[in-house]
């Protein structure tokens, strides 16, 4: 339920976060930019994959397309227009992919979504090498880190608001029914294809937006940088740790994991992926429904005894 108090807390939190760039050094701001982008990514991912249990590893496909759109268009067009074009490209791509893949169930969808990211990356590489003749591209945009921070704060807030609206709506309920049992869903009047497609496209468009906003941070872009599959895996782990069934679940997964990964990559650069894999396994086994649900159960159990 939504209460006045909760809204006030949300607005105050937003206000404080918006003021943060005035107090932070470059390193702190960089950290916050990374964290906010994962909050938006994991929340957008959970919007579709949380209720439906369609585990998508295609996050980086859309994220990379967003970044690449900026790299291609960054001269001569204003940044907001570029962002809009990026979102539209993400939307069209996700609709096309969704039509082809959302009939796949379970592990087939997971594998396809992973393959999609590789496919997009290879296609762009091929195009750049054979047609344009330039593999890498430079992005020169007059954007300061704090501008990117504010844009990401906006994107993350927008994603949370959309997520909240979806959860309250009939389509949010339809997604939960689909996640529970597609046969029931069809037999109570839910149009499976349309519902899944709509939410997949919404989630993918938001992910594309995040990629596009972050692009100017790289300055130099090539496919292997922006289509790094680690982005997809981190998004899934963070969302699963926090709990993809709740609006703020992913957020609670992002903050600790992002800080942990930051620390790991600074201190154990060579063993980073091993630790990442082990964590992934541990989270799925120990906290299948996420931290928030685990805490709730724990509280319930204590209340009973």
């Amino acid at each position: 339920m939504i209460t006045g108090a909760k809204v006030s807390v949300a607005i105050i939190a937003f206000g404080l976060l918006a003021l943060l760039p005035f107090f932070l050094e470059a390193y702190g701001l960089g950290l916050m930019i990374g964290m906010l982008s994962y909050v938006a990514l994991a929340t957008a991912w959970s919007m579709f994959s949380g209720p439906t249990h369609y585990i998508s590893l295609a996050t980086v496909a859309f994220y990379g397309v967003g970044a690449y759109t900026v790299a291609v268009l960054n001269e001569g067009i204003s940044f907001p227009v570029i962002l809009l074009i990026a979102v539209l490209i993400g939307l069209v791509l996700s609709l096309a992919v969704g039509v082809a893949t959302l009939r796949l169930a379970g592990v087939y969808f997971v594998i396809f979504s992973f393959g999609l990211a590789e496919l997009v990356r290879q296609l762009i590489t091929w195009y750049e090498v054979n047609v344009t003749g330039t593999l890498g591209r430079y992005i020169f945009l007059p954007l300061e880190p704090q501008d990117i921070y504010w844009l990401l704060l906006g994107a993350a807030t927008l994603t949370l608001i959309i997520g909240w609206l979806v959860r309250r709506s009939r389509i949010g309920l339809a997604l939960r029914v689909i996640g529970d049992d597609e046969v029931i869903a069809a037999h109570i009047g839910i149009n499976l294809t349309r519902t899944k497609l709509l939410l997949f496209a919404l989630s993918a468009s938001l992910i594309t937006l995040v990629g596009a906003i972050q692009a100017p941070r790289w300055v130099y872009i090539e496919p292997s940088i922006v289509f790094n599959p680690t982005v997809s895996f981190l998004t899934v782990i963070m969302a699963l740790l926090g709990g993809p069934h709740r609006l703020f679940g992913p957020l609670f997964g992002v903050v600790p994991l992002f800080l942990l990964f930051e620390w790991l990559s600074a201190n154990f650069p060579n063993h980073y992926s091993i630790i990442l894999g082990a964590l992934f396994i541990a989270i799925v086994f120990v906290l299948p429904n996420g931290v928030l649900e685990f805490l709730d159960r724990f509280r319930l159990r204590r209340a009973k005894t």
Partner: protein, 257 residues
């Protein structure tokens, strides 16, 4: 009586296997009809074709004169057909009440929000689950799951209800209550097609029944006459004493399960 549901030369092939061949029958508005036949005779496949879960290979199915055989299940629900499943299907992550609300939220005239909760309670009261409204769906026992499935099917506001062995696996007392429940639903004007193995239930509920064997209709008429039919006995029941044995074996299997 005008025909409401009409099947014309309906057939279904799964690869080389013909599950249903050349089935034609009609059901009138408000009629309750039993669909009988041994295991594998094509009853559930026929039900699946009416509800849209399976597509017909050939033939026509129409409802109120409108063809429905090329529609998806969700479109057929919106035409006024809802069903239960042979293997009970409940939404496990939702409460009993939410299960019914799902039936209300996506029908032709959707109900949503506070009003949906009220109607959901009404439907739960009809099937006798009002006290368990806030329990999680997965916590219900077999019989209550069946009740819940029926409440969800009713929530879709059907003109035609398809019940796939809904009465199977109940104890004698529950069976009696179940028969009463279906009868009370019938009196509201909903047409019902029941797939069932329990003869006593069919006798009690259905003035007319249709018998299938090997994908074909072998008898269609008043229940009393049809169950006396030699072809029916030979194909399905294999003589009266054996029939009793089959039925008791069936019910025992269900109880054990």
């Amino acid at each position: 009586m005008t025909s409401f549901l009409e099947l014309e030369n309906v057939a279904k092939k799964f690869g080389g296997l013909t599950a249903v061949r050349d089935v034609s029958f009609t059901l009138s508005k408000g009629e309750i009809v039993g669909l009988l036949g041994p295991n594998g005779s094509g009853k559930t496949t026929l039900l699946n074709m009416i509800s849209g879960a399976n597509k017909v290979t050939s033939g026509k199915i129409s409802l109120n004169g409108v063809s429905i055989d090329s529609l998806r299940p969700d479109q057929i629900v919106n035409k006024g057909v809802s069903r239960t499943f042979q293997l009970v299907r409940i939404l496990p992550s939702m409460t009993v009440e939410e299960n019914v609300i799902c039936g209300l939220a996506f029908r032709k005239m959707p109900v949503w929000g506070a009003k949906a909760a009220i109607i959901a309670r009404e439907k739960l009261e009809i099937v006798g689950l009002k006290d368990k409204a806030s329990l999680p769906g997965h916590s219900l026992n077999y019989i209550d799951s069946k009740r819940l499935e029926l409440a969800r099917a009713l929530a879709a506001d059907p003109e035609l209800l398809l019940l796939d062995e809904w009465l199977s696996g109940l104890t004698p007392e529950e069976l009696e209550a179940g028969i009463e429940l279906i009868r009370s639903i019938e009196t509201t004007g909903i047409s019902i097609l029941i797939v069932e193995h329990i003869m006593s239930a069919i006798r009690a509920l259905c003035p007319r029944c249709v018998v299938m064997n090997s994908g074909e209709i072998i008898a269609d008429g008043s229940t009393g006459t049809v169950l006396q039919d030699d072809a029916v006995s030979a194909a399905y029941l294999g003589g009266a004493p054996c029939c009793m044995l089959t039925i008791s074996l069936c019910s025992m299997t269900y109880i054990l399960l």
